[in-house]
């Protein structure tokens, strides 16, 4: 009797496993990681923030046969989580800022394999160009953010001054604020932390005619313009015009100080007003162009991406690519994408959503104009990670007394050695 029962049990288990396998055969499950841009990201993708439903439920209802295993991960953890999932072979779609290392390691599926043509043609070409290595597009943009000078209007009116446009004016304005408020308000904010120290580097070098690379993609980290620009930024710290600890105070600390009325000016993202509103800030704020050494206009933009990973074990590559394409189509469809971009307060990456966004918020038109002339980080170069960390380390070392010239010389040497080593390996 016991033997019969045991056999029956085994039989039932086999049948149930078989039915699960049969179910699995018909379905494609995509493992997706999305970055947490704000407090509502998770609710929009997984909760009820999409008009009472969420992205995953809506997608699965409209695309039977495709399941999403979607996880919203904070920016602090996303690199760790992504690496772990890559090691486990459980990552199909990733939303992150960098892509070059994944591409050079042969982990990414080219965009041409999975992105439908109509959608591909909808992306701003200038954005797509930022994700090209060796003539192959490896990722698509999901959004962009531009930076501007944000200032406390009430303070400026009280002092009777205008926001600065040149570096000389910036120093004068900082001194005026310092004197007028008797040192109780920080005139200027600088973030040289591991969070966004590379952005500070970009603001100042771009404002002095410098750059990370030249026209032929050669690194120019220790150019005279770059060294002079960072020396100027360090001078602002030394003169007491900034927050006291730029190496540990992140841009969120600065934004909080600005929102609390303790900081008069800072370079911040286009969604600063949304950020401050969420903090119940009563600061009357406005934005203008980032001051440069000679007053010329300059813009810095940041862009994040969506990329698809290879899965060589999948027996039906075409079906998998099609499923990833459907995910992208659904995400960028104006009825979904417009809501997401406005909720996060960023700028769109596709033409089809511009009209609706501008109708919803006319400020978008101004920001999109600013975006036109902006420079992006050279993220398509595989040394970018090392450069990003290197410039932050250089800034932080300089804050503790090291020579910025020596720091950038050493960094340039290291990066050039990496480029040469990679070239030698490729040969």
């Amino acid at each position: 009797m016991k033997k019969v029962m045991a056999m029956l049990l085994v039989l039932v288990m086999m049948v149930s496993l078989g039915s699960v396998a049969a179910l699995a055969d018909d379905e494609i499950t995509l493992d997706v990681i999305i970055c947490q841009y704000g407090p509502n990201t998770e609710d929009w993708f997984l909760g009820s923030g999409m008009n009472g439903t969420n992205f995953v439920d809506k997608f699965e209802a409209e695309n039977p046969g495709i399941k999403l295993n979607l996880e919203v991960v904070s920016w602090n953890d996303v690199y760790t989580v992504a690496d772990t999932r890559i090691a486990d072979g459980k990552l199909d779609i990733l939303n992150i800022d960098v892509f070059a290392n994944y591409a050079t390691d042969g982990l990414l599926e080219p965009v041409s394999q999975w992105c439908p043509d109509d959608l591909y043609n909808d992306f701003f070409p200038a954005f797509i160009e930022q994700s090209v290595i060796d003539d192959t597009v490896w990722a698509v943009p999901d959004l962009a953010s531009v930076r501007a000078l944000w200032y406390n209007v009430d303070m400026f009116e009280e002092m009777g001054i205008e926001p600065p446009t040149t570096w000389a004016e910036l120093e004068d304005t900082c001194q005026t604020i310092l004197d007028f408020y008797d040192g109780k308000v920080y005139p200027w904010g600088i973030d040289m932390t591991t969070d966004e120290g590379q952005a500070a580097f970009a603001y100042y070098i771009s404002g002095n005619g410098g750059s990370f690379i030249d026209g032929e993609n050669n690194w120019t980290l220790n150019s005279a313009e770059n060294v002079e620009a960072i020396q100027f930024a360090l001078g602002l710290v030394e003169n007491g015009y900034t927050n006291p600890n730029p190496a540990t105070q992140t841009r969120y600390d600065l934004q909080d100080m600005f929102a609390a009325g303790d900081m008069a000016m800072l370079i911040g993202p286009n969604n600063m007003d949304t950020y401050c509103a969420e903090k119940d800030s009563e600061v009357n704020m406005a934005y203008s162009g980032i001051p440069t050494s000679d007053g010329s206009t300059m813009g810095v933009a940041i862009m994040d991406r969506i990329m698809a990973f290879k899965d060589e074990n999948d027996p039906d590559q075409a079906a998998r690519d099609e499923a990833i394409g459907k995910f992208a189509e659904f995400f960028y469809a104006p009825e979904n994408y417009v809501g997401w971009v406005s909720m996060e307060g960023f700028l769109p990456a596709v033409n089809s959503s511009v009209e609706s966004l501008v109708a919803e918020n006319p400020d978008f038109a101004t920001w999109l104009d600013v975006l036109d002339g902006c420079r992006f980080y050279p993220t398509s170069l595989s040394e970018w990670d090392a450069v990003k960390q290197g410039v932050i380390a250089a800034e932080q070392n300089a804050l503790t007394g090291a020579s910025i010239q020596d720091e950038l010389d050493a960094l340039q040497e290291t990066i050039v050695a990496q480029v040469e080593a990679a070239a030698a390996e490729a040969e």
Binding site: D105, L107, P244, N245, D385, A386, Q389, A393, Q396
Partner: protein
């Protein structure tokens, strides 16, 4: 199976679950880390072939290596050393009979029972320049006229980190020593009193020798915990500026997940493991020898 054989096998059967757990959760990861330390690992974590000691050479050649190793030494010595001395003194006080002793003991547990991340975050707020409690209290009491930047240099920030480390480690030492103190037979002190021994005679000739086994346990465990402690440094400074406040553990984490230099990071973790084994081993052997000499 005869009884003698059964008795011989029995202990091993009882130990088997622990051995399996140790093998899966301790030995296996250590073996993997050693393997990775000698392999090429890409920035995305793709493991390549054997590269000999390249990762170790790269790790030792990193600009921050010397600073980080020195910081780790200062961190372990100061936190373990000072928390042992202070914990011992507090344990001596708590071993006396006084009103509110139970409450004092309960309060002492709090820093130990609270998460290290929360402790470090709270201290971050306390010493914050702009809205910190310390500045607010001192300003309100009229002790200072202007807020003080308690984190004006990286050296001071590192001292704060060590201070928080000491603060959260003291309870563990105190309770280890307290358990040792309570096991000392009071007749020993009575006999010493009759012989006319002073307070210091009793401390050095009775208390310290008899508490030594408890102190050995707490010191060895503290060396391991403090060496591997991550939350305080990471929460307070993330090693900034430019790794000048990093210890080995926070540095290798940043190297692995932020700088994505996974090969050198695993090599560093192997170096850390070996240093820790050496320190704890030397300490244990020296203490055991002294105990045998007694």
């Amino acid at each position: 199976m005869n009884k003698t054989l059964q008795n011989k096998i029995k202990p091993y059967i009882w130990l088997l679950p622990s051995i399996i757990l140790m093998a899966v959760f301790v030995i296996f990861p250590i073996v993997i880390v050693f393997k990775l330390a000698f392999s090429e690992v890409s920035k995305s974590g793709v493991v390549g072939g054997f590269v000999g000691f390249k990762n170790f050479r790269d790790a030792i050649g990193l600009p921050a290596f010397k600073t980080v190793m020195l910081n780790t030494l200062y961190w372990v010595v100061s936190v373990v050393g000072l928390s042992t001395v202070l914990g011992f003194i507090i344990a001596m006080v708590l071993n006396q009979k006084f009103h509110g002793r139970k409450i004092a003991r309960a309060i002492l547990v709090l820093p130990w029972a609270t998460s290290l991340v929360i402790q470090a975050s709270v201290w971050n707020y306390i010493i914050k320049y702009e809205y910190g409690n310390l500045n607010n209290i001192l300003l309100n009491l009229g002790i200072i006229k202007e807020a003080i930047n308690w984190r004006s240099s990286y050296q001071i920030e590192f001292i704060w980190e060590c201070g928080v480390g000491i603060f959260v480690t003291i309870p563990f030492v105190t309770f280890c020593v307290l358990s040792g103190l309570q096991s000392i037979d009071s007749t020993l002190y009575e006999a010493a009193d009759i012989d006319g021994a002073s307070y210091w005679d009793k401390l050095w000739r009775i208390t310290v020798p008899l508490v030594k086994p408890s102190l050995t346990v707490s010191t060895v465990l503290n060396i391991i915990y403090v060496f591997n402690s991550f939350p305080i440094v990471y929460t307070m400074t993330k090693g900034a500026p430019a790794n000048k406040t990093d210890t080995l553990v926070t540095y290798l984490y940043m190297l692995n997940y932020y700088n994505r230099q996974k090969g050198p990071a695993t090599a560093l973790s192997v170096i850390g493991f070996l240093v820790l084994c050496l320190c704890a081993g030397v300490y244990m052997v020296s203490v055991m020898r002294k105990e045998e000499d007694l």
